[in-house]
Amino acid sequence: MLVLRRVTLSYFDRAHPTPVLEDVSLEIPDHQFVCIVGPSGSGKSTLLRIMMGLTAPTTGGVLYQGRPLTDVNLHAAMVFQSFTLLPWLTVQANVEIGLKAREVPEEESRRRGTYYLGKVGLDGYGEAYPTELSGGMKQRAALARALAVEPDLLFMDEPFAGLDALTSANLREEVLTLWSDHALPVNTVVMVTHIIEEAVLMADRVLVLSSRPGRIVSDLEIALPRPRSKRDEGFDALVDSIFEKIV
């Protein structure tokens, strides 16, 4: 369970505060797939970074499993839009770097790296360098890197935005499959997106942020049965209603 209590965040430019997030409170229970949508500049990514413990809120606090978060949450992992693999490490070394940070023994680290590369469909690419991979494969590797630390929480910041339509549709399916795979440790997923269809397709719950400063203006259950498709009854209506809340 992840709890945000009255989180605000302001940037200070010459002691003149610019509010980015204002009074955000929410609870994310285990086993939920949450999407955050909102216009650009609404602080979606910032909110995600606060949940991850990368950015400290100006006021308010984050509780993970009842305890306040003061640093990067080591039970969580994050996937970014720009893939963010280190170009000088092999794919395998990239995937293992979080394990190194956690002082996992070398054998075990190797095994887990290979296992998760397999899970995302990158068998045999361990010794390649990121520059040799296509965009979709890079994002798969980044996903494997996040899964390899066996996180309870998985954060994703527009993970499909840098990919072409076909690749992103495929990867979307796979993320859903991985999430529902009980062999994987990931319990909860929080994903930022600006594509409303994507949110409705994937999430149990959609949070809508207002434009700057970001505030939660709407918190919706998506009760459509899974697996979903854009042709499902009620899909368009949901998308339209969320769209209206944004504009």
């Binding site: 991850m52 990368l54 969580a76 992992a77 770097i97 956690r102 630390v149």
Partner: protein, 566 residues
Amino acid sequence: MSVERKAPPWLPLLAGLALVAFLGLLLGPERALHLARGVARAPHAQDLLPAAGWSMLRMTASYVASLLFAWLAGYTAATRPRAARLILPLLDVGQSVPVLGFFPAAIYLFVTLLGGGRLSLEMAAIFLIFTSQVWNLAFAVYEGISTIPAETRAAVDSLGVRGVLRMRALLLPACIPPLVYNSILSWANGWYFLIACEIIVTGKAQYDLPGLGSMLSRSLARGDLALATGALVTLVALVVAIELVVWRPVRAWSQRYRYDTQVAEEDAEEPGFRPLALGIPALLRPLRALAHSLWERLPIPALNRAGARVTALLLSAWRWARWPLGLAAVAAVVFGFAGIVHAIRPPWPPEAARLPLALLLSFLRIAAAYVLAMLWIIPVALWASDHPRQVRGLTLIAQIGASVPATAFFPVLVALLVNRFGGMEIISIALAMTGMQWYLLFNLLGGVSRVPSDLRESMRSLGLSRAQVHRQLVLPACMPSLVTGSVVAWGGTWNALILSEYVVYRGQTYEVLGLGQMLNRATFQTGSRSLLFLSVALLVATVVTVNRLVWDPLYRAVSARYRLET
């Protein structure tokens, strides 16, 4: 031409003053330098290898020192914005100051501190080479760390990577491409100053710095042409060999550490040398494997804990010592200031009255050398623009020309020209020209090769003649490169003044009135500390002023107007 940074405008001034002040503080009574007397024996051919060894040793020592300092300064500036506001302007000043002008002062300082022995000369030389290498390396570290994409940084942090592992996986690799690129520049710079130091010292001292530069000037002074040629050939061979065996492969390897998103603007100048990049030679491979395995086996957790402890200790020490240290710094500045005032207070030696004229004459000499260099370089560049295939070859020549220290040719030129063709005045201008021409050619060729060929063809198809294309397209398009090259060339030549205006050849001193001459006389002949400081201060003030008032605005104006959109 770094990005504009916000800094208090008084800071560079203060830093310059503090530097001079520090020197002033430590100096004793006025005196001419008498360095310790060893018996300088006639150089022999079997001294060539040891001489090369000594030169390499000096280079390596100062390069390693530069790297360490650069890492500390660059890392601090990149990770602490408040420190950056202080460090970056200081580096900027350091970069634009003509360091060779400080060599007499540095000898003065180290001789005063350590006595007149060989050690003091070595320290002075290493210090000088260090100051010629360190600034752009520090900027490279700063640039490397601060251009890591924000998301990548966040991704690494989100994986819980920190401490030594973070340094190893994220920060160090990110610094490698700019650091290698700048190391090549710094290394070339270092040769230039090393040779200069060795030559200057041989001029006056009984006890010299053994090295290729001193050997060259000493054997020429004795009229031993064979040995002088040997020294020169050894030097050129050494410089080119290091370029080929070390820097080229290292540079190719460093490309691995580049982010996709970064534009490889330095690569534009790459043509020509590729076939000569030999790959890491077999000799270096075991070394590399050893380093790699050590690197892999770093006991990261232990190092992290140790690092955290040291940091905590340092931080608490700093908190405790902040005020005393600050006070001490202020006191040092005040004392130093008093020292300078004392040192340069009137009555000035009668020679001081000639300083303005000396400055003017030095300036005119550099200007003359600049014009002369342009007279052959612009036609060559224009010719190259019509013969794109020749650009590679020419670039290669310019590259080698720029990497071989021009200072090494000074004694040769002197030996050739002395007592002929109008004497010292001509020599002085010729020396200045040797120093600056390669940078100009190199940069101009870069500019020429960046003119898009379809633009040129479209001009031709509009019926413009070749000369018109040159005037309308090629020259304007080269303007930014020309200004960049000019800044470097002028900067280098201010440095070279100290060598080019005062030459000792066969026991006789040849000199022309100029700032470089004043510096030399103050150190070695009259021993006038006030004159030494006045000259250094005037030189620094001139160079910094010219940079701020002429080159910076010119560069901005030219690149705004003449940049080709690509």
